[in-house]
């Protein structure tokens, strides 16, 4: 399984100004200021650019926590090779 931690943490820092050094799976929109429906779409596009994956509309809707995001990235990276 590819380590998604550092690039994903950097994306959270860029988009939300996320300050913590840790990005646990449990982090969700409730925990991050600015993670609204519009920034969620920015997040999806940043993830596509950083990991070289293509997300479906359902993938984007399913990204309800960092854990779910990691799972979706991993599955799309495996299908894309």
């Amino acid at each position: 399984m590819t380590d998604t931690s550092t690039p994903l943490l950097r994306i959270f820092q860029d988009i939300f100004g996320y300050t913590s050094a840790e990005l646990p799976d449990t982090v969700s929109p409730d925990d991050v200021e600015g993670w609204d429906s519009m920034q969620h779409l920015t997040l999806a596009q940043e993830i596509e650019a950083a990991f070289g994956v293509r997300l479906t509309t359902d993938d984007i809707l399913a990204m309800t926590s960092v854990g779910e995001i990691r799972r979706i990235i991993a599955s799309r990276m495996n299908t894309n090779c």
Partner: protein, 594 residues
């Protein structure tokens, strides 16, 4: 204080959406002396992701954008309600961004002959709202043109059918007509901006279904760059002079080595690329951009080509100044700036040789150095694509600017040859026309009021509304002045605003373009204003002078025409002329017509 070039360099290394958002967050801390432009964005779709792109692309042009967004889908409300928050922002530009395929997505199901009046009604409402808005606001309104869906169920029959595409095209025509007749309404080429990067790169249907955002990040950046051309124009950053190298810039080859018959210029291949480039340059000259030559060559080698080569599109009279010698090009540019009376910051330098470009970049940082591509076939597009010459108005004076510079050179030669100054003035056969400001003069009058610095007695920058109030007021009169002489027409080059109060007529504003100074035209103007004052029963003519850093050429105007200083305030001088005791006469070498 973060450095602008550092912010942009770090962004350009990886220009993602988040990177734009991060760069935009640094903007409040950048150099506060950069000009600020207040804009409002009214969107028929979600414009949030676009805003940081506009802020950053404006910074790339050296402008700090202060952006306010209207609420989603509330365009007509924002335009029609005088107490709407966008008015409080006092925007210089209001952008209206529209995407019909998003807005009228439900109409994709309708076939030809169905009811498309919702599109026509929407367009009529929008046109009315924009027109009305421009009457109560000084802002320029820039309305997006309308994208038609790439494909509809009609497929290849779409373009010949009366369906959604046709109704959107009707709306585009109506917007174009509005922009043609309202000088403060303009069209934003969203369609062009997106097609330049390719629709597949610009549009993302996932973003549309999830957030009603029709565009990708790349689409937002392309649109933001197009929008920033308007900020450049409204901030008056338009460059005025294009300085051109000759060898391998206007023609292929080196004329000193290849001879005039050996240069590559014509209707085939690379020669055609250069000929096309000359056509583009000539077209720019028609919009008021001055062309100048700066070439390492000898006169006797180059001038025959400019005069006689049958394939040349540009001729010597198309150039306002030339430096053809073996000197350092930076020195030549300084001399050209002096000769043309322009600042180096209004110059664009075009040269195929990267070393010359680098020299100028280092020695003269205020000059804009164009990054000419290596391939001549790409010259034309690269220059047309640049934003340097974007402008929001094009007056008759602008279009004739290059001619007027030519005429000025000839006046200079005549001055040198005359026996006395008065002989010179007589030889010019000057004709001055002064009259009230007509509707077609208004744009030019307002332009002069805004940009004249040297011969401007009170430097009052009337807004369009204030100027219209002076025009229509019972106690005020506004006059405009035109000059022509033996060498040509100088155009509308003077403005005077008179205010009447009891027996006094005050010259609230008087300004002349520096182009017509030194020919006693100001005496003719004062003579006219005396007569206008007397006609309204005034017995005294009051002249005001407020010194600024730039207007010392005007400080002796009233004193030298027999006005008397009547107050003790050097910052706001009051000069009085007793109309009962005499009048100012028009010089005998100037013929006054009305």
């Amino acid at each position: 204080m973060p450095d602008v070039s550092d912010i942009l360099a770090s962004l350009d290394a990886n220009p993602t959406q988040a990177a734009y958002a991060r760069a935009a967050r640094e903007l409040p801390n950048v150099d506060a002396t950069l000009p600020e432009c207040r804009i409002a964005i009214l969107g028929g779709y979600t414009t949030g992701p676009l805003v940081p792109c506009v802020a950053v692309e404006a910074l790339r042009l050296g402008i700090r954008a202060d952006i306010v967004e209207g609420d989603f889908g509330q365009i007509e409300q924002a335009l029609m309600q005088p107490d709407h928050e966008i008015h409080a922002h006092e925007p210089e530009i209001v952008f209206i961004l529209l995407d019909p395929p998003t807005r009228f997505a439900s109409l994709l199901q309708a076939g030809p002959g169905a009811d498309f009046s919702p599109v026509d009604d929407w367009q009529t409402g929008l046109v009315t709202a924009i027109d009305r808005f421009t009457q109560s606001s000084a802002a320029h309104v820039v309305c997006s043109n309308l994208r038609t869906p790439r494909r509809t169920p009609l497929g290849i029959l779409d373009l010949e059918s009366e369906a959604l595409t046709a109704s959107i095209e009707r709306a585009n025509r109506a917007l174009r007509e509005l922009a043609a007749q309202n000088e403060r309404v303009h069209i934003l080429d969203s369609v062009g901006a997106l097609s330049e990067i390719g629709l597949a790169n610009a549009i993302d249907d996932r973003m549309f279904v999830l957030g009603r955002i029709p565009m990708t990040h790349a689409g937002h950046v392309a649109l933001a760059k197009e929008m920033c051309r308007f900020l450049w124009a409204v901030k008056g950053r338009t460059r005025k002079c294009l300085v051109l190298d000759l060898d391998n810039t206007l023609w292929g080859g080196i004329v000193g080595d290849d001879g005039p018959e050996g240069i590559v210029l014509g209707d085939e291949a690379t020669g055609l690329a250069f000929k096309q480039f000359q056509r583009v340059l000539k077209g720019l000259r028609e919009t008021g951009v001055l062309l100048a030559v700066c070439s390492k060559n000898s006169d006797h080698v180059v001038l025959p080509v400019l005069d006689n080569h049958p394939e040349m599109v540009l001729r010597p009279q198309d150039f306002s100044a030339m430096r053809i010698n073996w000197n350092n090009k930076a020195d030549n540019l300084r001399e050209l700036a002096d000769e043309l009376g322009l600042g180096l910051d209004s110059f664009v330098f075009v040269d195929d040789e990267p070393r010359e470009r680098e020299l100028v970049r280092q020695e003269l940082p205020e000059v804009t150095v164009h990054d000419l591509p290596e391939d001549p076939a790409l010259y034309s597009a690269s220059l047309l694509h640049a934003h340097y010459f974007e402008r929001l108005t094009l007056t008759a004076e602008d279009r004739q600017r290059a001619e007027m510079y030519g005429a000025e050179r000839q006046r200079g030669r005549s001055r040198a040859a005359a026996a006395s100054f008065e002989d010179y003035l007589r030889s010019l056969e000057i004709r001055v026309t002064i009259g009230p400001v007509g509707e077609t003069d208004f744009a030019r009058v307002h332009q002069l009021v805004g940009k004249t610095n040297q011969f401007n007695l009170t430097t009052i920058r009337y807004t369009e509304t204030e100027l219209r109030e002076k025009l229509s007021g019972a106690d005020s009169e506004v006059y405009c002045l035109r000059v022509r002489d033996r060498f040509g027409e100088s155009g509308l080059t003077g403005v005077a605003v008179l205010v009447f109060n009891a027996d006094a007529c005050e010259i609230e504003s008087l300004l002349l373009s520096c182009r017509i100074l030194g020919r006693t035209i100001e005496t003719a103007l004062l003579a006219f204003l005396c007569r206008a004052a007397v006609k309204r029963g005034a017995s005294k003519l009051i002249g005001r002078f407020r010194p600024t850093e730039r207007n010392s050429p005007a400080e002796k105007l009233y004193e030298s025409h027999g006005f008397v200083l009547t107050n003790e305030d050097p910052e706001n001088q009051r000069w009085e002329y007793d109309l009962a005791a005499g009048t100012i006469t028009c010089p005998e070498w100037i013929r006054m017509t009305s």
